[in-house]
């Protein structure tokens, strides 16, 4: 019994020692984009630091109509596209690790809900025959993107301020430049815990 108690105390001491040596006291981060509200949109992101330089996270965004001004994929197949919302898992590498200033590179995935107008929509009329109309079709599409940014850690590393430029394409396009959209772009503020 005494031996077990000693082992338990040693284990606690070891854990506390590791905690004290942990160079990353804050491994979790939530942030939001300060610029998106100017375009009738909003986003939130959660990020988990994995080590000295790497982090993974999940972002979600809801886009208003003004956000279309930031996209160049709004004309497509003779119709128009409007991305309504989007979920973006991402991974980052911070080139300066956990220092107060670091630039970073981000790779992101994208699952976006899109309204595409000008599409052929087939319905069945009262007589049981098919009829096509031109209308709006909603669907989910996937994509990949990249981003580059710079991060500042403030107020005992609890407050995050970062600037990022991100570009995302989708799997329905012919070429990345023709159907790209700016995502996760702007000035972000976050809290680490």
């Amino acid at each position: 019994m005494r031996r077990s108690l000693i082992f338990f105390i040693l284990f606690l001491v070891a854990c506390l020692a590791l905690k004290a040596q942990d160079p990353l006291p804050y491994k979790n981060q939530v942030s939001t984009n300060l610029l998106l509200p100017l375009f009738g949109s909003a986003d939130v992101a959660y990020e988990r630091t994995l080590g000295g330089k790497f982090a993974v996270g999940l972002g979600a965004a809801v886009y208003g109509e003004p956000f279309e001004n930031l996209t160049i994929d709004d004309s497509y197949r003779g119709g128009s596209l409007r991305t309504k919302n989007e979920i973006m898992p991402f991974a980052r590498i911070y080139f300066n690790g956990n220092q107060k200033k670091s630039h970073f590179l981000e790779v992101l995935g994208s699952f976006s809900r899109v309204d595409e107008s000008g599409r052929l929509i087939r319905s069945v009329n009262e007589e049981g025959n098919g009829v096509y109309d031109i209308g709006v079709r909603s669907y989910t599409r996937g994509g990949l993107g990249m981003g580059y940014g710079y991060r500042f850690l403030l107020v005992d590393d609890k407050l995050v301020l970062e600037a990022q430029l991100g570009l995302r394409t989708n799997f329905d396009v012919n070429f990345i430049v023709l159907n790209a959209a700016l995502v996760r772009t702007g000035i972000k503020i976050g809290y680490r815990f």
């Binding site: 009329n125 031109i134 990949l144 329905d172 990345i176």
Partner: protein, 186 residues
């Protein structure tokens, strides 16, 4: 690190090049068979009129759907335009050469501004408004060996930027039942 960045950029570009290529420009494409009736007398006199008829329902089957497509309600088209070809055998080239017919020699309804290949006519919705029909005649003014040609024949609804277009491809029977070669003598 530079290699990693270059690989990431190349990877995304390559994935961006993947394309479903399902561009369709608001056109519904269908196929029909057995819609042309041509009674070939094989030998005609100069001055005779060659005749053939086209008739297809406004309700057409569409691949992938159990309900037939109402092409009239879809397009509002009172007529579908199409074109046919006539070839004449040439001893010079030892093959059939295309003939572009003077419109006065073609008897039948002709659409204006329609999209078709060859000699253009239209199939109009009949009085009962359930079938598009076209009765075409060609006045034979020259002797020789000829051949009607219905390959690459598409019945097309009028183009309108704001409406659906239906393009119906005619699929010629592969068993040779549609004999299109004939001769004209003085």
């Amino acid at each position: 690190m530079k290699k990693i960045v270059i690989c990431l950029i190349m990877g995304i570009v390559l994935i961006g090049c993947y394309s479903s290529d399902d561009y369709y420009d608001r056109t519904v494409r269908l196929q029909v068979r057995d819609v042309i009736t041509f009674t070939n007398d094989k030998e005609y006199q100069v001055g005779d009129t060659l005749r053939f008829e086209v008739a297809f329902s406004r309700y057409l089957n569409e691949d992938g759907f159990s309900s037939p497509l109402d092409v009239f309600e879809t397009t509002g088209a009172e007529a579908f335009s199409y074109g046919f070809d006539l070839y004449q055998y040439s001893d010079f080239s030892k093959r059939f050469e295309p003939i572009f017919l003077d419109s006065e020699l073609v008897i039948g309804s002709k659409g204006e501004g329609s999209y078709y290949f060859g000699n253009g006519v239209v199939a109009e919705l009949n009085e009962t408004r359930d079938t598009y029909v076209s009765e075409v005649g060609v006045v034979l003014v020259e002797s020789g060996t000829f051949q009607l040609d219905f390959d690459f024949l598409y019945f097309t609804s009028p183009f309108n930027e704001n409406s659906v277009i239906v393009s119906i491809e005619y699929v010629r029977p592969s068993d040779g039942t549609l004999d299109l070669e004939f001769s004209v003598v003085e």
